[in-house]
Amino acid sequence: MSAERSELLQGTLDLIVLRVLSLEPMHGWGIGERIALLSGEVFEVNQGSLYPALQRMRRKGWIRAEWRRTENNRRARYYALTEAGRAQLTSARAEWRRASGAVERILDTALSGI
């Protein structure tokens, strides 16, 4: 039961990270900040989940990491989308739409049935 829930959350986090990285390569802290910003501060990404997620996506070959200088000349590890990552983003996004649409429909039906 709990395993399934984390799976869902994990999938969601992956999708969001992929989306953020599709804009431009970004370091870990920046990804967190960007997510918060883009979600209108609705999501605050748990750091304890972000780095393991980045590690996992690297292993799957969706993103790659490289060391670069930030604008204030600080060494940081930047993550960038790979081709596989881009494809994953597309398919995951479609999947998400389909799933969330389905969930919407169920919720609507259920509500109107009360």
């Binding site: 870990g28 802290w29 900040e33 393991p52 600080r74 590890r77």
Partner: protein
């Protein structure tokens, strides 16, 4: 597959990935802090908040590692490094465990290897299981060498053999090479001998059949080592050796590794050594190769029946049948007995080593209960802890195994170095991989089984209580187990100590044994008179006379004489029954000796009645005999033997000359075995010379200055005839050499006993150390309350010494039974020898007391106040 490589790469880049993660986290915290500072927060507070928001760094690292996918391998390598570090932090424990393992594995591997090579592996000859030895069997069941005539009949008539050969066993003989005389072991063999071995020569050819006919040309074949060494690889065409009085043409070189029988340097054609061939003259050994498809049983009944018929046909043949057995059993023989003994000893040692290892690991495990409990409560899984201990034990066993291999090599080299030739086939020995694997596996299983015990017992119980109880929490069951282990170890060590003691005392008894003659200040010079240079026996005898005369004039020489065979082991003996004047054959056999009057004086053999040989006993006089008291008792009990007549028919080529007893002397025989020696009679060298001409003789000189006497004899012999080879030795060194196989056994066994003692002491030390560590607080309190250090030590030691005492008593009991198995290798010492038992007990108890006193003493040296504060 790709996944796999990613994992491997991740593992390889493990260190850098960990550093990258650290840097990434640091960067993250820095950015967060900077953001908070920009919002107006003070730097210190911003840093703190950044950390709080980030959450548990270690937890997050763990999860990231999980995602990396190299988790398992990574843990393994980390645990391995951890294990090594842990062991390095406990050097005492590590040393004890590794030494224990090395000794146990090393000794056992070496001994198993020896036994395997010597006893179990086939001989290095083609189809060596077909090699058999054949003996004549007397009516009392004893096996005797064969007579050449009987052997010839077997060879002619028996169909069970592809080849049947006779030989006179290897003896150390002086051989004259073109470069001078050297001492070499020479076997005399018939031509079929090499067919029995089924071996071709490496160079040249073998002794051919006509060459062992009585009038054939004397021929010899040499070993590879002898040819390369003493003969400097000289070309065979022109090479000849003088052995005794015969010149042998060297026709071939045997390949390396061919060592039948008993690794000779030279094989010479046999018939030169058997000039008389009476049926009752049992001098040759017989070796055969069974025919294809012939069984030992069938061959045995065939020769047995043949010998039975020979016995019926020739009345002088005393033996009633023939025995046949596998040659391997034959050569292993006595050495096998010694090796079995050493093997049992090494088995015991291995047992002690495993026991010791077990108790050491248990003690350490107990000491670590708290550490493990803490780690368990911090979230380390049971599997993880078990794996941790498993790895530690494996590292330990691995290092111990390496130490064991080195120890085994050391023991084997030492044995090879010590070996006087008593252990057959020793030169072939190399560590047997199968044996090594077995022993190492046993050690590893022990290490792991007992190394894991603490983890298993921990996880079975309640972690929290283990943490609370910490060092003092120990079940009675485990303490009981220790006491049992300690007692077992002491008992096993006791058995080995007693065994070592008994064998050492046997060696001592042999070396100190009174053979009925003096040994100090006696120099022996083995000479071979090359009689072929002299036209008659008389001339050869004259040469000997001149040598003896010269020897008597030497510095400090009191007496000088000559004898055929010295009465020490290794010289051999010739024995046969004799016939009294009434023609009746004696029950017993008697040693045939050739000597002069000076021999008895030089050896300090007392004259009991009549006279010794003197000037009267020339070649023309009636043949005289000096007999020893035992022979006088056996032949003429209660009567005066002087003037009596007997005849050693067939023993020498003078059956027509009866011997008249002119004197009775004390017995002078010294043998290794307890089987007892035959009584002896002596004939005069000038009256019955041929034995000297065949076997050579030993000139014996007694005096106050042995080394000067030795140099003098060498000079005399050179002056008389520089072609006479001479080998000098003191009588004492000859006796010491003759006991060298026993010395080997005694040395190795006492080495084992010492190792066992050491292991037992280490075991006691370890357990008491642990017990002291556990009771430091109690000891501190008692000392703070005014107890003396001595009484506190006493309490700690008492526990251990009780176990030791139980072990010693049990060990003594078992040893009393076990040493009976030693009886056959003991000499003049009872298997229940009180001295050995008491001494072993004393040594063991003292060692155990010291081993328990040391940690107790260290415990009482601690300041009570600081001990009490510590907990």
């Amino acid at each position: 597959m790709r996944e796999f490589w990613t994992r491997v790469r991740a593992l390889v880049t493990l260190g850098s990935e960990e550093r990258a993660l650290d840097e990434e986290i640091e960067f993250h915290l820095e950015m967060e802090q900077r953001k908070l500072e920009a919002e107006g927060m003070p730097a210190k507070e911003a840093r703190r908040r950044a950390r709080v928001r980030f959450g548990g760094v270690d937890r997050m690292k763990e999860r990231t590692r999980d995602e990396r996918g190299s988790r398992r391998l990574e843990d393994l390598s980390r645990d391995l490094r951890y294990a090594v570090r842990t062991l390095r932090r406990a050097p005492g424990f590590f040393a004890v465990a590794v030494i224990t393992l090395s000794i146990g594995i090393g000794a056992t591997t070496a001994m198993f290897t020896l036994v395997d090579t010597v006893m179990l592996r086939p001989l290095p000859y083609p189809e060596s299981d077909r090699l058999v030895s054949v003996w004549e069997r007397a009516d009392d069941g004893r096996d005797l060498p064969a007579s050449y005539a009987n052997f010839s009949d077997w060879r002619f008539a028996a169909s069970s053999f592809d080849a049947l050969a006779a030989y006179v066993p290897t003896s150390a003989t002086t051989v004259l090479t073109p470069d001078g005389g050297v001492r070499a072991s020479v076997a005399a063999v018939t031509a079929d001998f090499f067919a029995v071995g089924a071996v071709e020569p490496a160079v040249g050819r073998l002794i051919a059949t006509p060459e062992h006919a009585p009038d054939g040309p004397p021929t010899a074949v040499v070993s590879d080592a002898f040819w390369r060494g003493a003969l400097a690889s000289a070309p065979l065409e022109t090479l000849s050796l003088r052995i005794g009085n015969t010149l042998y043409d060297v026709v071939g070189v045997m390949p390396r590794g061919f060592g039948l029988p008993g690794r000779p340097d030279v094989w010479r054609s046999l018939d030169r050594a058997v000039p008389w061939s009476a049926r009752g003259n049992n001098v040759v050994h017989v070796l055969g190769r069974l025919a294809e498809g012939a069984t030992e049983g069938a061959a045995r009944s065939e020769v047995d029946a043949l010998q039975g018929r020979i016995h019926e046909t020739y009345p002088e043949v005393e033996t009633v049948g023939a025995s046949l057995r596998s040659y391997r059993a034959e050569i292993v023989g006595d050495a096998g007995k010694g090796l079995t003994l050493l093997l049992s000893a090494s088995g015991l040692l291995l047992l002690i080593a495993c026991t010791n290892l077990a108790s050491t690991l248990l003690a350490r495990g107990a000491g670590r209960a708290r550490e493990l409990a803490v780690r368990a409560s911090l979230g380390a899984g049971r599997a993880r802890l078990v794996r941790q201990l498993f790895l530690e034990s494996s590292v330990l066993a691995g290092v111990g195994a390496v130490g064991g291999v080195l120890t085994a090599q050391g023991i084997l080299s030492l044995t090879r170095w010590l070996d006087p030739g008593a252990v057959p086939r020793l030169r072939e020995v190399s560590i047997e991989p199968g044996v090594l694997v077995f022993v190492v596996a046993l050690a590893i299983v022990t290490a792991i089984a007992f190394g894991l015990a603490p983890a298993l017992s921990l996880t079975r119980g309640d972690v929290a209580s283990a943490v609370r109880a910490g060092r003092s929490g120990h079940t009675r069951a485990i303490q009981g187990l220790w006491r049992a282990i300690m007692a077992t170890e002491v008992a096993l060590a006791f058995i080995l100590l007693v065994g070592g003691g008994l064998v050492l005392r046997s060696l001592d008894a042999i070396l100190d044994r009174d053979g009925g003659f003096r040994t100090d200040g006696v120099v022996t010079a083995r000479i071979d008179i090359p009689t072929s240079k002299y036209a008659s026996s008389a001339e050869a005898v004259d040469v000997l006379d001149r040598i003896l005369e010269g020897a008597r004039r030497g510095p400090g020489v009191e007496d000088a004489g000559v004898v055929l065979l010295l009465p020490v082991p290794g010289e051999g003996a010739v024995a046969s029954p004799v016939y009294r004047a009434d023609g009746e054959r004696s029950e017993r056999v008697f040693n045939y000796q050739v000597a002069d009057g000076g021999y008895f004086a030089a050896m300090g053999i007392p004259l009991l009645a009549g006279r010794l040989f003197g000037r009267a006993d020339g070649p023309e006089a009636s043949h005289a005999a000096v007999i020893d008291a035992a022979m006088a008792d056996a032949l003429w009990p209660g009567e005066d033997p002087i003037g009596r007549i007997f005849n050693p028919r067939g023993m020498d080529p003078f059956p027509e000359h009866d011997l008249t007893v002119v004197g009775v002397v004390g017995e002078a025989v010294r043998w290794n075995s307890e089987s007892g020696a035959n009584p002896s009679y002596y004939v005069h060298y000038s009256q019955r010379p041929p034995f000297f001409l065949i076997f050579g003789a030993s000139v014996v000189v007694a005096g106050s200055n042995p080394s000067a006497a030795a140099a003098h004899i060498r000079q005399v012999v050179r002056e008389v005839d520089s072609d006479i080879p001479i080998t000098l030795a003191t009588l004492q060194s000859k006796i010491a050499d003759s006991a060298s196989d026993r010395r080997l056994n005694a040395f190795v066994l006492s080495g084992f006993a010492l190792a066992a003692l050491l292991l037992a002491a280490i075991g006691v030390y370890g357990v008491v150390s642990y017990s002291v560590a556990r009771r430091t607080r109690e000891m501190g309190i008692r000392m703070a309350l005014g107890a003396s250090a001595g009484s506190v030590r006493g309490t700690v030691q008492a526990d251990a010494l009780r176990a030791v005492a139980i072990g010693a008593v049990v060990g003594a009991g078992v040893a009393l039974l076990a040493t009976r198995l030693l009886e056959s290798v003991l000499f003049d010492v009872s298997p229940a020898d009180p001295t050995s038992f008491l001494l072993s007990g004393a040594v063991l108890t003292t060692a155990a007391w010291l081993a328990s006193w040391l940690p107790a003493w260290r415990g009482t040296r601690l300041d009570p106040a600081s001990v009490l504060k510590e907990e």
